[in-house]
């Protein structure tokens, strides 16, 4: 059952990769790529990095979301709960407003700003008694509101660059390239590996912190580590794709409904599912209209009805 499910998801990933390479606004497909050098360039240098970045981002957000939901024991937790996305937006907006926007600068600024935000939230949420999840959650919410105020202000004063900031915040993969893929590969591989390595221990946290302690888990240290992992994954994703909502919330939930709560199987399933979901939605985003619409809009428009469908099947007791 479990092995079959994983194989199914891997197949889905390959299909998603194929579709990501085969379809695009230029209309060329993989057969053209075999015959024609221009088509080959489009497929290898545009669609390939784009599909791979989308896959990596999908993995990162799904992993981070699953970890956060377990850690916070809250089904509404998502990768952005530590204010990471708002931090990244401020970083990107600052670079754009300062007039030094380039792929490298925006990505770097967004990445550093989001890590910084996560660190700040962590420090704010920390008390003498440790790291109570509720305090951390509230610190994250407060920080997110504050930083989105800052972003709004930056958008307001951005004048002609306004649309660039807005588009970045909405999130998408149209600027994906090999550079971005290189930047995020290491943090995402590290984060995903560490997450999978600790997937069983995440189960212990599900029962409550006192119970986690009672099975011999050093909860404070574990929480700290997992928050670092989650911040790293989310920051890497946000830095290259902007703020793509909903993936980190619904992919883990959808998998939970299908395969259960056990993180040993849930976490890898969510990662594989995120890796298929993101490039597929991206294909829809670039084909649905003449131009291209931000993928975050599609994730919300497709994701929520699908999620509600799963909920209504009635299998789920949250």
């Amino acid at each position: 059952m479990k092995a079959k499910f994983i194989i199914l998801l891997i197949t889905l990933d390959l299909v998603a990769l194929f579709i990501g390479l085969n379809f695009g606004s230029s209309g060329v497909d993989l057969f053209d790529g075999l015959r024609d050098t221009t088509a080959k360039t489009i497929i290898v240098d545009v669609r390939m990095p784009r599909a791979l970045v989308a896959m990596a981002v999908g993995m990162a957000l799904a992993a981070s979301g699953t970890i956060m939901q377990a850690l916070f024991r809250n089904p509404l937790a998502d990768p952005y709960i530590l204010g990471v996305s708002s931090g990244a937006s401020v970083g990107a907006a600052l670079v754009i407003v300062a007039g030094i926007a380039s792929a490298v600068n925006i990505t770097t600024a967004a990445f550093l700003a989001s890590l910084l935000t996560a660190f700040a939230v962590y420090r704010l949420g920390k008390t003498r008694a440790g790291l109570p999840v509720l305090t951390l959650l509230l610190a994250g919410v407060a920080m997110a509101y504050f930083l989105s105020g800052v972003t709004s202000f930056l958008i307001y004063i951005a004048a002609k660059d306004m649309h660039q900031v807005v588009f970045w915040v909405m999130g998408g993969f149209w600027t994906a390239n090999w550079f971005k893929l290189k930047v995020i590969t290491l943090p995402i591989i590290l984060g995903v590996t560490f997450g999978l390595y600790n997937s069983w221990k995440l189960n212990a946290v599900l029962l409550g912190e006192e119970h986690a302690l009672s099975v011999g888990l050093n909860v404070e240290v574990f929480k700290k580590r997992m928050i670092v992992v989650s911040a790293l994954l989310t920051s890497a994703a946000v830095a290259v794709s902007g703020v793509i909502g909903f993936v980190g919330l619904i992919v883990p939930h959808a998998m939970r409904l299908l395969i259960g709560e056990d993180n040993r199987i849930l976490l890898p399933s969510a990662i594989l599912c995120g890796a298929a979901f993101m490039p597929l939605v991206d294909v829809i985003a670039r084909l649905i209209t003449e131009g291209e619409i931000p993928v975050g809009i599609i994730t919300a428009l497709i994701g929520s009805p699908f999620f509600i469908f799963l909920l209504r099947r009635g299998k789920y007791a949250a």
Binding site: K201, A204, L207, G208, H211, V215
Partner: protein
């Protein structure tokens, strides 16, 4: 493995929560930690387990000093069941498997085997693939106990393992723990149900305000100690050699205090009426009862009693004492008792009470089924019935009584 707690003191925000606590738990011990809410039981368990760090004193596992061990290591020696409610959609087997996280990064075949055995130990075989969230309260608690068992630790610390459970689950869980203890583990169980503790445990620690107030065997469960530790009035009786505690309600109708009622009973026929009258706050007496009569237990603690030596017929002395009590009473109740040669004088005494028109007879079953003396008793009883207030059952007594005692 021996658990030894030596002089630990712990303060939180400069409030001393635990003061100089010393205790030890040996192999095969099942120790109850009794104390009212807020007395420091949970804090003590958390401190022993190493979650809270003490400022003074130490906890030892055999020769090992627990403060120097990591929590991963402690969990292999001590199975700690917190009181915190657990809620998860994990399957039962996955919850029990968590007890193995301290040994491996991922559960192995043998971990699964151990988990399945633990599930069997708590009697939940067949529940492995059920969702934890869909179990009853008692089943959930058993799953959590199975989780501790799968840690394979010698010492169990349990914080209110029976709280909020129905009585059959309470008993089952205590039996499971006793079984484990008999296999050589030892357990320290924080509990506030004194009777449950007395039924299953052999050693008692009573905690009050962060100190060990009393420590010892079951014999420390006394009315005096419980009043001191719990600030509660109870009466302590014996049941198969173990003390059991019956709460005494302090809020009794005070206007009945000066009304005296004497109960003529025997062989358990008086238990219910004595309880009923005692609840209503009347001053009670009873007699004549043989020393081993079960009605003695009912009257002890709530009223005076005239006793006779075991298995002896009522003596002249006792009879007269009984008459004196009847004389001083505002009402006399004759229960649905059996009459033999030994207690025929009780019937005579009841007859005396009718002279002052203050006798109530509880006549539930035909007298001839209760009469082992013959015509003589039959005649007295007939007289009684004609001169007394006769009721069919105990519940009917109060309404007659209210008329009687007002006269």
């Amino acid at each position: 493995m021996q658990l030894e707690v030596k002089n630990i003191t712990l303060s939180i925000n400069s409030n001393e929560i635990l003061s100089d606590i010393t205790l030890s738990v040996n192999d095969g011990d099942m120790v109850a930690l009794l104390g009212p809410n807020g007395s420091g039981k949970t804090t003590l368990l958390r401190t022993i387990y190493g979650i809270l760090r003490t400022e003074k004193g130490a906890v030892y596992l055999d020769e090992m000093r627990l403060q120097e061990m990591k929590i991963e290591e402690i969990a292999r020696y001590i199975g700690y069941l917190p009181q915190e409610r657990a809620e998860t959609n994990l399957k039962v087997l996955d919850v029990v498997l968590l007890g193995r996280t301290t040994y491996n990064r991922k559960p192995s075949e043998s971990d699964v085997k151990i988990a399945l055995q633990s599930i069997r130990d708590v009697g939940l075989t067949g529940f492995e693939n059920r969702l934890f969230s869909q179990l009853s309260g008692g089943e959930k608690q058993k799953v959590l106990i199975a989780r501790i068992f799968s840690q394979k630790s010698d010492i169990l610390l349990l914080d209110e393992p029976t709280a909020h459970l129905d009585i059959s689950s309470q008993i089952e869980i205590m039996e499971i723990l006793r079984e484990k203890t008999r296999e050589g583990s030892s357990s320290l169980i924080a509990i506030h149900d004194i009777n449950l503790a007395s039924t299953f445990c052999d050693k008692i620690l009573m905690v009050k305000d962060g100190r060990i107030a009393f420590a010892g065997g079951l014999d420390i469960i006394t009315e005096k100690n419980i009043r001191e530790v719990f600030q509660a009035d109870v009466s302590v009786r014996k049941q198969s050699g173990r003390p059991f505690v019956v709460p005494i309600s302090r809020k009794k109708p005070h206007n009945n205090r000066n009304k005296k009622i004497h109960v003529i009973c025997g062989g358990g026929s008086g238990e219910e009426i004595i309880r009923l009258m005692s609840d209503r706050g009347y001053s009670l007496s009873a007699g004549v009862l043989n020393a081993l009569d079960s009605d003695i237990d009912a009257i002890l603690g709530v009223g005076d009693v005239v006793t006779e030596a075991p298995f002896s017929p009522i003596s002249r002395d006792s009879y007269i004492k009984n008459l004196e009590m009847i004389d001083r009473s505002d009402a006399v109740i004759l229960t649905n008792l059996c009459v033999g040669a030994g207690n025929l004088l009780n019937l005579q005494a009841a007859l005396k009470a009718t002279e002052k028109k203050k006798l109530i007879v509880i006549d539930s079953t035909p007298f001839k089924e209760r009469n082992f003396v013959g015509d003589k008793a039959e005649e007295i009883y007939r007289k009684l019935l004609s001169r007394a207030f006769v009721v069919k059952s105990e519940e009917d007594v109060p309404k007659f009584l209210s008329k009687l005692v007002q006269m």
